[in-house]
Symmetry: C2
Subunit: 195 residues, 2 copies
């Protein structure tokens, strides 16, 4: 169905404009009303709804693009850093991503609240990225082997909801604790604690 027909030129243009407009609106933090988004994109609400089932579907699309971008990172990081350092860096990257998602505010929350497959996919993709990093760490004996990426992701999830002033400092501390927790198991098991 997706590519049954290549989508008419003007339609594709409008669709893209809507996603861009939505992202901008979310980042700006204010006025994420469908009317407002449509206006920014230079179309009417009807057009918005032609392309996106619901408002949430639009949010989902924006979010999906964010995630896709983020998930490209692990391969790069592993190529350039030791596994534990790559993991740490990626966690910090997730915090940055949260900073972006933060602008999307409740938009993001509403999508997390739904169990829309779109979001599940995004989560899976993120989890897979983390698994990649964890596996590398485990192989090097630097990371405990009993934790899945999905779990790490959830531990970080709380950061996204935080909106108070000092959220970022706290987020960084969360990463520290989490990072240590992930390595602790490996060290605890004792055999070759890294120098």
């Amino acid at each position: 169905m997706p590519s049954s027909r290549p989508l008419r030129a003007d339609a594709r243009r409008n669709r893209d404009a809507l996603v861009v407009a939505a992202r901008e609106a979310f980042l700006a933090g204010d006025a994420a009303h469908v009317e407002e988004i449509a206006r920014r994109a230079g179309v009417a609400v009807g057009t918005l709804y032609r392309h996106f089932e619901t408002r949430e579907a639009l949010v989902a699309e924006v979010y999906r693009q964010e995630v896709a971008e983020l998930c490209a990172a692990p391969a790069l990081l592993l190529a350039q850093h030791a596994p534990d350092e790559a993991l740490r860096t990626f966690l910090l990257l997730l915090v940055e991503h949260a900073a972006v998602g933060r602008g999307m505010g409740e938009a993001l929350e509403s999508i997390m609240a739904t169990d829309s497959p779109v979001f599940d996919d995004a989560r899976d993709e993120m989890a897979r990225a983390l698994d990649e990093l964890l596996a590398a760490g485990v192989a090097a004996g630097l990371v405990r082997d009993d934790v899945k990426g999905r779990v790490v992701l959830r531990a970080l999830g709380g950061i996204c909801g935080m909106r108070a002033k000092g959220w970022k400092d706290d987020a960084l501390q969360v990463v520290t604790v989490l990072y240590d927790g992930l390595r602790y198991g490996a060290a605890d098991r004792g055999h070759n604690a890294p120098e």
Copy 2:
């Protein structure tokens, strides 16, 4: 202002009924509309609004009561368990609490989204409870001393938003990693350790 007048008998009764009705509605998961809550409480919406500024204010009140109940735990736990065990148990308790809050669904999220002082207070109270536990752990040399309760709380926060099937198992794993991360620093300073 609070106790300028003791609040008329029927008014107090209605107010309490509303909180109870709201809690039930949230736990039931369905129909958290103000009309529905008012009906359950046997009053009209106008009455609801006489007692609570907004729908969110009502949610806040329910949540506050949950929190207050939860925050009574640390003192008890410390009296009966070693500091690290008390900490671990409390973390697990937080997960249970999340299970309750989960029923409140987006109601809870909407209140987190606001920077209503009510929720800040709740968070402070929880953080204080955690600080109490952490301090005991630090004093016993079982827990790292560079992490505030607020940070732990945020790390756990992500659990609340999770609604997928296996959320609870994941939540428990998050607690494990977090718990180890909290102890790791102490071990780091105490014994041999990576890096």
